[in-house]
């Protein structure tokens, strides 16, 4: 595999890591949601992504679009609350962004993330600044896109993963002083100020885990640099 291309193996790794992170952080994500929300965010995500892990073999596919669509259906079917429709839509739109493709390149990652964000915007009638997961997802996508446009050093997969993680974390932290304008948190008015958005933090935690495990993943895949 040569930079800046990516592969279905990378995609599978990313999705699996997202799923594992959701399951491992059930309590932590729930506690974040308890501050100004109803505490079920961790539970909701975990119930869906644990099925993704359990049914993994029936989901993986040579077609990235096919794979993402199956994952999207599992998530839509099991995850309730706001997260079910949002994450299901995001995964479905990501699938649409790589329709009919077999080999993925780094710009596909950006396209998938962009499609996911647009899907969430449409489904949630929300946008940047509403204190939602979009406030981590969109800056992260922008940073990747810009780096790839600039090209040159620092656009290898591991470096891109680290860039995504750092950007998402900074962006998630930046949701703390915001007032929620969408989702259940918004009902508490100004009281949503002072704690970060659970969805945005989840995006950051997932991106960090992907970055942290990227090298091990590449070694496992026996990828040649």
């Amino acid at each position: 595999m040569t930079s800046p291309s990516t592969s279905t193996g990378d995609l599978a790794f990313v999705v699996r890591t997202i799923a594992q992170t959701a399951v491992d952080n059930e309590r932590a994500f729930g506690d974040l949601d308890a501050v100004a929300g109803d505490g079920d965010f961790g539970y909701s995500l975990a119930r869906g992504f644990e099925i993704v892990l359990a049914d993994w073999d029936t989901l993986v596919s040579d077609s990235p679009a096919e794979f993402l669509k199956k994952v999207a259906l599992v998530v839509s079917k099991r995850v309730g609350g706001t997260s079910g429709p949002l994450w299901g839509t995001a995964l479905l739109r990501a699938s649409g962004a790589v329709k009919d493709r077999t080999d993925l390149v780094a710009t596909d990652a950006v396209a998938m993330l962009r499609a996911a964000a647009e899907g969430i915007k449409a489904r949630g009638r929300s946008d940047l600044g509403d204190k939602t997961l979009l406030d981590a997802l969109i800056p992260m996508t922008d940073a990747l896109e810009q780096r790839l446009a600039e090209g040159g050093p620092g656009s290898g997969p591991a470096e891109l993963a680290r860039l995504a993680a750092v950007t998402a974390r900074t962006a998630a932290d930046a949701t703390t002083p915001m007032q929620a304008r969408r989702g259940r948190q918004s009902y508490t008015g100004e009281r949503s100020i002072g704690s970060p958005d659970p969805g945005a933090v989840a995006v950051a935690v997932m991106a960090e885990r992907i970055a942290d495990e990227w090298d091990a993943h590449e070694r496992r895949e026996g990828a040649t640099p």
Partner: protein, 331 residues
């Protein structure tokens, strides 16, 4: 966590199983889709009524299934809207030639799930409408939120559309009635304590011994503001004023007054609250024709109460009067 629970993940399924075992002749539990439906639904000549909107609000909505009320409820996990897929499956199971009305408490997640289900069902050629309930005056309707929330006022909507559907009204008419009742219903709630979701195992927030949350919804989230615990009279007066001033309800209006317990407040206190609210409304010249005191729409084990007013006319009164047979009863 002090609860009657086995594995917290089984909390909702085992509750639904118990509900069905206690009502073997009238209710059916469909574990695959986490839903409770009337044993005799769908009926050719009746619009079917469905409500969802998260578990933890019992007796809303699974214990409100029965003749004259809901045909089915697909409750989702605790405080989580059901997945769109569950709603879609529910609609398919209860679909009647006269159509299906979906009742949705106005929350982001619920809106999404029911709108997606409506789209999926319409693609199947089913005749489905969605009605959003938003009676909570604690939330200001503004472009910065998704609008007011739906809380205990949903019971009046369920009851009225249930009665209308039972009489054979068509989907337009049933929807008109639901919207009308929703438009004259207003609620406001307050919490004395936080509640503990089984899967979380600890209270959703810390509330000191001398503090309350004013303006809470029904999902255990904090309210609009934290206040000092005060006498029943003072707290009831804040709830009553907020509700009355919102519609507003005026001297000479005839109303139904509901005092709804949030799960952990005993019925004795609810009647005390009812008495105080009744007197405060009477002082404003508002006439209470119908009273509802008890638990209608709860937040698990939260101690607290909400007050709902519905402005009555002959049509609404008559629909509220109609018989209904649901699991919640004494004998």
């Amino acid at each position: 966590m002090k609860k009657f629970v086995n594995d917290p993940q089984d909390y909702v399924p085992q509750m639904l199983e118990g509900l069905a075992l206690a009502n073997p002749d009238t209710l059916k539990y469909v574990p695959e889709h986490n839903l409770i439906m009337r044993a005799d639904t769908p009926q050719e000549n009746k619009v079917s009524i469905v409500q969802g909107s998260g578990s933890g609000h019992e007796p809303a909505h699974v214990m409100s299934v029965g003749r004259g009320m809901l045909d089915a409820a697909c409750p989702g996990d605790v405080f989580a809207a059901p997945p769109a897929d569950s709603v879609y499956e529910t609609v398919k199971l209860v679909a009647s030639p006269k159509g299906v009305l979906l009742l949705v408490n106005n929350y982001t997640g619920d809106r999404m799930a029911f709108e997606m289900a409506e789209e999926l069902s319409e693609a199947d050629g089913l005749n489905v409408r969605t009605l959003f309930i938003d009676d909570d005056v604690a939330v200001q309707d503004s472009t910065f939120t998704v609008g007011r929330r739906g809380v205990a006022g949903n019971f009046f909507v369920m009851k009225a559309v249930g009665a209308a559907a039972e009489r054979g009204a068509d989907l337009d008419e049933v929807q008109r009635i639901g919207e009308k009742v929703n438009s004259v219903a207003r609620s406001m709630g307050m919490a004395l304590t936080a509640c503990t979701p089984p899967a979380k195992g600890s209270p959703l927030f810390d509330l000191p011994d001398d503090a309350i949350e004013m303006g809470v919804g029904i999902h255990g989230e904090p309210g609009r503001k934290r206040e000092k615990l005060q006498s029943a009279d003072t707290m009831v007066s804040e709830l009553v004023s907020a509700v009355v001033d919102d519609l507003p309800y005026s001297s000479g209006d005839h109303v139904a007054l509901m005092v709804n317990g949030l799960g952990g407040t005993p019925i004795g206190e609810l009647y005390l609250v009812y008495g105080r609210a009744h007197k405060q409304l009477a002082e404003r010249g508002i006439e209470i024709d119908r009273s509802y005191v008890g638990e209608y729409c709860t937040s698990l084990d939260m101690a607290g109460a909400s007050i709902t007013l519905v402005r009555l006319d002959d049509e609404i009164s008559e629909l509220l009067d109609a018989p209904a047979e649901i699991p919640i009863h004494v004998f």
